[in-house]
């Protein structure tokens, strides 16, 4: 039986061959042209963005063989690769249309803008599609996307929860969902579990508030997106008008990144952004704090130790250790002063006079 390396290499070669074949078809298609339907790919059935789709499929397969030390990097690389392939395809379609027809600069810029807006729809806050953080949007929605991933570790509730509550129609969501939640919150808690119901209602209020702050940050980032698109369109247009070309797709990608960073830098130094971001962190913390209280009620009822009890114990140990260390320091500092100020021969004697307690307190050393 062939080992994993052989299998993997063979698979890689097979993939490269398949990909070449796939791209050859595109190349052929690219040079022949299909008048009347230049934006339609021969692989339309594979999805809206077949290049990115194909990339995602093989990246999923390949990532399974990654060692732990390279897992995170490979994941980030695959995410980037998918966005990059998605961008490649969109540009290919855009440029192909420009090649087919007799375009003016204005037409081309307008089409570019349209394509960017199309791409931007997925992450244009508010009023975007169900998932404003996916696909091409990863280039724009990164701060929020990374926040969502990171925030998962702060709550017993899944980090995707906020996302899952969105619908295709955000306006409808804001009315239907909010109405349902408000109805739930307006119910007076009754019966034996009324206190627990109250706790749940408070948590729901805090969750709604957190969701609102995440969306508020999304709204501010939406301004970044718009500004970045403006900058990008402007710089592309300038180049076209000057008759300049790009070294390649990477140069366009780099320009895009530059525009994104420039727009982002403008926004994050404005007064609104730090406040909106801080509001989001603070709202998450309020929610988590309340969750902790709820969990502690349960663990107390089950006679299990709580975080509060652990903290109290740690604090007492810490304060005891601190008081002891201060006493030791007084002795050691005095001994050290004598040692460093005494003539060399007397140093050994001075050091020996260090108290037994201080000697015991001195931690062991180890070699690496």
């Amino acid at each position: 039986m062939a080992d994993f390396a052989d299998t993997s290499n063979a698979w890689t070669q097979a993939w490269l061959d398949m990909q070449k074949q796939y791209m050859d078809t595109w190349m052929k298609f690219s040079s022949q042209g299909l008048p009347g339907s230049p934006m339609t790919s021969p692989f339309a059935a594979a999805g809206a963005n077949p290049w990115a789709g194909a990339f995602e499929q093989w990246s999923r397969l390949f990532s399974q063989g990654m060692p732990v030390s390279a897992k995170d990097v490979s994941t980030r690389l695959f995410d980037l690769g998918k966005s990059y392939m998605d961008m490649s395809e969109r540009y290919w379609q855009l440029l192909r249309q420009g090649k087919e027809d007799a375009f003016s600069v204005t037409d081309w810029r307008s089409m570019l803008q349209q394509a960017c807006e199309q791409a931007g729809k997925g992450f244009g806050f508010p009023g975007g599609s169900t998932d404003p953080w996916s696909g091409f949007a990863t280039l724009w929605g990164l701060p929020v996307s990374n926040w969502q991933r990171m925030a998962c570790s702060f709550s017993p509730f899944p980090g995707e929860m906020e996302k899952a509550l969105r619908t295709d129609d955000q306006a409808a969501e804001s009315t239907v969902m909010t109405r349902a939640v408000r109805q739930f919150l307006s119910l007076p808690p009754v019966g034996y579990t009324r206190e627990w119901q109250e706790q749940q209602q408070v948590w729901t209020e805090l969750f709604l508030e957190y969701t609102r702050t995440v969306q508020a940050l999304g709204g501010v980032l939406g301004k970044v997106v718009q500004r970045a698109l403006d900058l990008f369109g402007k710089r592309m247009s300038e180049r076209i008008q000057n008759g300049e070309s790009f070294d390649g797709l990477r140069a366009i990608y780099n320009l895009w990144i530059d525009c994104g960073e420039e727009a982002y830098a403008e926004e994050v130094t404005a007064t609104e952004f730090p406040q909106v971001q801080a509001d989001m962190v603070n709202a998450l913390m309020r929610m988590k704090r309340h969750e902790q209280r709820m969990v502690e009620e349960v663990t107390t009822a089950l006679n299990m130790p709580t975080r509060t009890e652990m903290d109290t114990t740690h604090k007492r140990v810490y304060e005891l250790q601190r008081a002891l260390r201060r006493l030791q320091d007084t002795v050691e500092d005095a001994a050290e002063s004598v040692a460093v100020s005494a003539p060399p021969k007397a140093r050994k004697t001075a050091v020996k006079k260090t108290t037994t307690a201080a000697r015991r307190a001195r931690p062991k050393t180890r070699k690496e």
Binding site: V73, S74, L77, L142, S153, R286, Y318, R347, E368
Partner: protein
């Protein structure tokens, strides 16, 4: 008909190349193995709680008489100063005759959440300084503080001026509220009490998110596009992986110390506005009268140069030197130019002030 900035065939060709590079290079990534960091020979000479003090093996027969203690930040790990053989500030300092010690703070856990700045500055640093003074029979040693470790070093020197001969600060925040300090703007709106009371220790993931959010498009997207270009080069790939390891190797921060640092430094800016006390000891930069070498980076997005340069106005010393490094917060440790310029400049400056 306009001249398109790029031809469709070119886009296709590049997409194929990109994918091929990625596929072929991923085999190298799969075979990367263990990512090793820290290459200079060293010995652990003191430890306390999670702290370990390392003494590096001198690279010359007669190293400097006054040893140099490096105090790194609590954020990320100190092996950045000795990332690999050809990217090591420590190795270069050793080769220029310095006798180098380094504090490794370790990874605080839940039991460390009540550690305060007083513990880090007046206990841990103090004990390391004491150990070195005793080991060398010296009254004073040299201190090199990096980033937040530089702020700690300034506080320590202000409280214990009789123990520090010369102070070197690298990319050190001093004035925390200079214009264009994005990190400071963000920190000021935080309810740090709520944050620490809720999370206990400040999670490294949250810090990472904050740092990546300063330049999200470059640090989370473009960087990996560039990686695709070097996947076929095992040496460059390994270098990348070392940096990547360092960036995401973020220890949690002891809760109380984090609370104090955000409140006293970022929110109240007490190091320059006055009134700072650490463990009951008043801290004024006017008390820092020993020679100071202040090194800052012109493109530092974490510690803007103006934040570091404020030290000149506030320190009590009459012997102040500064070095402006044309680079960023990370480049100052690892770039070829930094390796070439920074360690010899530090060593020369210290040697000019040796007894």
């Amino acid at each position: 008909m306009i001249n398109l900035p790029l031809q469709p065939d070119q886009v296709l060709k590049e997409a194929i190349e990109f994918n091929s590079k990625l596929t072929a290079g991923l085999t190298n990534l799969k075979d990367i193995g263990e990512v090793d960091v820290g290459t200079a020979p060293k010995e652990a000479v003191y430890s306390e709680d999670k702290l370990v003090l390392y003494h590096y093996k001198p690279a010359v027969d007669r190293p400097a008489k006054t040893p140099l203690l490096i105090v790194y930040a609590l954020v990320n790990r100190p092996y950045m100063t000795d990332l690999q053989e050809d990217r090591s500030i420590i190795r270069n300092l050793l080769e220029h005759g310095e006798d180098v010690y380094l504090i490794d703070w370790g990874y605080p856990d839940g039991a460390d959440r009540f550690l305060q700045l007083d513990d880090y500055i007046n206990r841990y640093i103090h004990h390391c300084v004491r150990h070195i003074r005793k080991a060398h029979g010296l009254r004073k040693i040299n201190l090199l503080g990096i980033c937040q470790g530089g702020t700690f070093s300034l506080c320590y020197t202000a409280i214990h001026p009789e123990r520090i001969a010369n102070l070197v600060t690298m990319v050190t925040p001093v004035d925390f509220q200079t214009p264009n300090n994005v990190l400071s703007d963000w920190a000021r709106g935080l309810d740090v009490d709520l944050l620490v009371d809720t999370v206990g220790n400040m999670p490294g993931e949250l810090l990472n998110w904050t740092f990546l959010s300063l330049k999200p498009f470059r640090l989370t997207s473009q960087k990996y596009a560039d990686l695709a270009d070097i996947l076929d080069d095992p040496v460059k790939l390994k270098n990348f992986m070392r940096m990547e390891k360092w960036i995401f190797d973020s220890p949690d921060q002891a809760g109380e110390a984090f609370r104090q640092f955000v409140r006293l430094f970022y929110q109240q800016n007490q190091l320059v506005t006055g009134g700072l006390e650490i463990g009951g000891h008043p801290v004024s930069l006017k008390q820092v009268t020993c020679p100071i070498l202040n090194i800052y980076a012109t493109y530092d997005h974490l510690v803007p140069p103006e934040s570091s340069k404020a030290l000149k106005r506030h320190a009590g010393t009459h012997d102040y030197t500064s070095i402006e490094f044309k680079g960023g917060h990370i480049g100052i440790y690892v770039s070829g130019k930094a390796q070439h310029d920074i360690p010899p400049a530090i060593a020369n400056w210290l040697q000019e002030r040796s007894d």
